[in-house]
């Protein structure tokens, strides 16, 4: 069985996928993950997960350009220029 190993380099860092080990069960997988990804003290923590427990999703659909909840949905340059101009003109009028 293949077990995927995720490692955390330092406290506070995210767990990142580091590789995989072949093992017959959890006990062996733990021992082998410990060795391959921690014998030099290079990780403070590991997550060891059976490969078939990992669900991969790699297809995302956005046919209708849902930019309203992204930063690129807000092109403000024009409006800002217009607003600044108007404020500038108003300021001139008030002088």
């Amino acid at each position: 069985m293949v077990y995927e190993v995720f490692r955390q380099e330092r406290k506070g860092q995210p767990f990142q996928h580091a590789g995989a080990v072949a093992a017959p069960n959890r006990e062996f997988a733990e021992a082998y993950a410990r060795e391959q990804y921690g014998r030099r003290g290079e990780s403070v923590a590991l997550w060891v997960v059976r490969r078939d427990a990992v669900v991969e999703i790699d297809d995302f659909v956005d046919e209708l350009e849902r930019n309203y909840h992204r930063v690129d949905g807000y092109p403000l340059k024009e409006k800002l220029r217009e607003a600044r101009e108007r404020a500038g003109t108003a300021a001139d009028r008030d002088r």
Partner: protein, 297 residues
């Protein structure tokens, strides 16, 4: 995607993951290349193993054992990548011991003294690291990722090698002789290591962006980095033609490329003996794999 689009994609720096579509040729070349790398790590263990048992101090014993352990660990990482590309580890190992698969030239040669231990860790590993660094940008991402870990671990190997060599060079005349004698024997294989020069557009490894460096470029990098290190210790290189010309290019006696071909196709001085050792070890432990890895996916 079709072959042409794919080629454009990788040549533009595109990365490929395990589940992505890839041309059959790309997959086949990748498997062969990466499998050879795995085989080399595994076969590279054998010349050094003997010296683990003869290490002259506890520190050297630990360091050398750790170094060889790393190489086994690298083989594990590498064969996992091959397995995810479609060729199971057991199939790779079967092909290896049957003499059907290749591994790097340097691991077909004998080690004779502690001098070899130093020269291998210092220079052979250095040559290997140059090649390995050129794989950090491999278009096939899973391989590029393990190369990062491999390169990081190799850094101590080279320091260990240098330490062994410097200690001997600062020691007795006999020890200095051991180093020079080992270097004399390893120079040929080192010059062969990066392979015969191939024009960039004829090298499929470069075309598919599996490697980012041609053979000659790698060799030049090796010479540039390590010949000065060799000379500054008062050691000589057994090639009277070796020199850096005014254009900054290293000139040398053209290696015998036929010898390289002979060796990597399984006719090196130690090839058969080492494959036999591997085969025997596998046969003796087949029962263990059956009991432990039977359900291995």
């Amino acid at each position: 995607m079709n072959d042409t689009d794919f080629l454009e994609y990788v040549q533009g720096g595109g990365q490929v993951e395990t589940g992505d579509w890839m041309p059959d040729e790309y997959r086949a070349k990748l498997i062969k290349f990466i499998e050879m790398h795995g085989n080399s790590e595994l076969m590279g263990v054998l010349p050094e193993r003997e010296w683990i048992l003869r290490a002259p101090t506890l520190q050297r014993k630990l360091a050398l054992t750790a170094k060889v352990q790393d190489e086994v660990g690298h083989a594990q990482l590498i064969y996992r990548v091959v397995e995810d590309l479609g060729k199971p580890r057991e199939a790779c190992l079967e092909d290896l011991v049957a003499g059907k698969a290749k591994f790097h030239n340097v691991f077909h040669y004998p080690t004779k003294t502690w001098g070899d231990v130093g020269v291998i860790a210092w220079l052979v590993d250095a040559a290997a690291i140059i090649s390995q660094k050129a794989l950090l940008k491999c278009s096939y991402a899973p391989y590029a990722r393990i190369m990062k870990k491999i390169c990081w671990e190799e850094s101590f190997h080279i320091l260990h090698g240098r330490d062994v060599i410097l200690t001997m060079m600062n020691g007795t005349d006999e020890q200095r002789e051991l180093v020079q004698e080992a270097l004399d024997r390893w120079w040929g294989p080192l010059m062969h290591f990066h392979g015969n020069p191939i024009p960039g557009d004829e090298d499929p490894m470069l075309v598919w962006r599996i490697k980012s460096q041609g053979n000659e470029e790698a060799r030049q990098q090796f010479l540039d980095g390590y010949v000065p290190q060799i000379w500054e210790l008062g050691l000589t290189v057994p090639d009277p033609k070796l020199r850096k010309n005014d254009d900054g290019v290293w000139e040398y006696t053209e290696p015998d490329w036929d010898e390289l071909r002979e060796v990597v196709t399984g006719h090196g001085p130690k090839t058969e003996e080492r494959l036999d050792l591997r085969r025997l070890a596998r046969e003796n432990s087949a029962w263990v794999r059956a009991v432990v890895l039977a359900e291995a996916a």
